[in-house]
């Protein structure tokens, strides 16, 4: 198992390099000079321009810039410095908690309600409950998140103010409930459908028939023998999705005005603050890779047939 973990970590290296390089190239390939962009329409004296460009390695070839950036990151844990002199890591410190809280809320929502709905539908295949779940989740998957977000905000935050409509003034979990549900709605739909299909299939498996032949109670047959096996694909999805939730909350954080990493990334893209975008996204990639590794290792606990060699 440890050899497997090590190998997976080694495999993560090219993934990490590839993704960060891509982000770096994309961000810095954007047209327009970032230094000039800070000054807006005003002319920038050549000396200032030159000094700043030199300071941020902007005169070097792109790959060299990337190399210097990665060196700083790996050797010193330095996420770089924005063009206004702020440390990127400092800009993100307060924001991680917000994003993490949002991701955890959305994830818990997906896990609890997704699996519950899936089990409900899976046990009643072809009946009303099943049709409702299938229809509802299709709708949630089909509608873009910003539509779901604004609709939920207007209906549940403004018209019937059950939840805070925006901001984080009410703290966790209250302020995060509505954005969490919105962010988790896509994943929830997926989890519910996955659970439903997987459970319905597993309930027809030979070993479930055996469990019934053993005279076990229905609950025991469904939960211990049916559900456990059915959850293997669901757990995989939930694991991968936790990574996406950490990084994919840009729209939701925007709608609900949550000061998280996503919001920072969004603002920085607009302001052409390359170092911030790269820094934030690099961290998101790292988290995604690590979460995936943990999920792969946990997988073996659920399914003993998987061998780490």
């Amino acid at each position: 198992m440890w050899r497997y973990a090590l190998r997976r970590l080694l495999q993560a290296v090219p993934v990490f390099i590839g993704t960060t390089l891509l982000i770096y190239l994309l961000v810095f390939a954007l047209p327009g000079d970032p230094i000039q962009a800070m000054a807006g329409d005003k002319p920038v004296p050549d000396s200032v321009l030159h000094t700043l460009r030199e300071r941020y390695n902007l005169n070097d070839p792109l790959l060299e810039q990337y190399g210097k950036y990665m060196w700083g990151l790996l050797a010193h844990g330095d996420l770089g410095e924005n063009y206004d002199g702020q440390k990127v890591s400092a800009m993100l410190t307060g924001r991680w908690q917000v994003t993490a809280k949002l991701a955890v809320t959305a994830w818990a929502f997906e896990l609890v309600f997704g699996i519950a709905l899936g089990v409900w539908a899976g046990l009643r295949r072809g009946k009303l409950a099943d049709t409702l779940v299938l229809g509802g989740t299709t709708l949630l998957i089909a509608v873009p998140v910003f539509v779901v977000g604004y609709t939920a905000q207007i209906l549940l935050g403004v018209k019937w103010p059950i939840f805070p409509s925006a901001g984080v003034d009410d703290g966790w979990p209250y302020s995060y409930l509505l954005p969490g549900m919105v962010l988790g709605s896509f994943g929830l739909s997926y989890v519910a459908r996955l659970t439903r299909t997987s459970l319905a299939e597993n309930l027809r498996a030979d070993y479930v028939r055996t469990a019934r032949a053993k005279g076990l109670s229905r609950t025991r047959v469904v939960v211990r023998h049916g559900l456990r096996n059915s959850l293997i694909p669901v757990v995989t999805y939930l694991g991968v999705d936790f990574g996406s939730l950490m990084g994919g909350a840009i729209v939701t954080e925007g709608i609900f005005n949550l000061p998280g990493v996503g919001q920072q990334v969004f603002q920085s893209i607009q302001l052409k603050e390359g170092p911030v975008v790269v820094g934030a996204v690099t961290l998101l990639v790292l988290i995604f890779i690590l979460v995936n590794l943990v999920v792969d290792l946990l997988y073996g606990l659920l399914d003993p047939r998987i061998r780490y060699d």
Binding site: D206, Y207, K214, G215, L216, S217, R228, N229, R305
Partner: protein, 349 residues
Amino acid sequence: MTAATKNPTGPGDGDATPLLEVSDLRVAFSVRGREVRAVNGLSYTLAAGETLAILGESGSGKSVAAQAVMGILDTPPARITGGSVKLDGTELLGLPDKERRRFRGDRIAMVFQDALTALNPVIPVGAQLAEMYRAHRGTGRKEARAKAVELMERVAIPSAATRLGDYPHQFSGGQRQRIMIAMALALEPDVLIADEPTTALDVTVQAQIMRLLARLRDELGMGLVLITHDLGVVAGIADRTVVMYAGTVAERASARELYARPAHPYTLGLLASVPRLDQDAGRLEPVRGAPPDPAALPSGCPFRPRCPRAEAVCAEQEPPLVAVAPGHEAACHFAAEVYAGETEVEHAG
């Protein structure tokens, strides 16, 4: 526990008080609005310590009937449309699910064909065995574990104690089937139904499993229902046999009689299609044609379209079971002739 001895004669031909009594069992499936009759009036009895073989090809309804007796059919789509299943005089059909469940695993247990898929792949075998005691008897964790080790030793799994935590895929095919059998026998049931217990196994392992079943039957004095399509498998162990065709009984006889003097053309065909070592049979004769579609059974005798003896009467009337000898019945208009006459299969001894 006594030492294993092979049952020399078998405890008889069913005139003792039956332990298990299945009468006129009928099971139908609803498939897209159509009714498919899988079992059409199956009857048999089983005494303690006795082995009844139910023979039939795929689709003859033998497995469905067994699952109906166990009470593990998926309903819907399946539906038990008639008949009765009595265990020790208690009618099982129509019992509320909760009461029925108490019989399953405890009084009547089942072994399935493919132990690799029939055992839960993600639960250690020890836990699957212990579950029997924990669920039925409320046995504590430690004691149930100890009993699981005993069970595994009883079916001759080497170093049982250290293998409790292993998963089904870590055992060989024969060992898996032994574990399956151990699980079924955990609570020492009165009746064991083995549905094709050796079909997924090598021939040498098949023989071991059959010997194991026979030994455990004698040790526990239980009734054994052996469901198979393989005539060779049952020859050595069965006391009585029921040949099923299209969900109904084609022939019923003691195993010895059935092999020696079949009274139904179908049985005759089955025996002719089995390779034998003691005869130079030349080319084996298959039973021509395919089993009938249970959704569209032919009129009269279901075997008629494949029967070399079929005459006009066979299309008009469904043949009743007629006795050709004491304890030997066949559902054929010409049962007496087949029994008396031109039998191509010689006495097996």
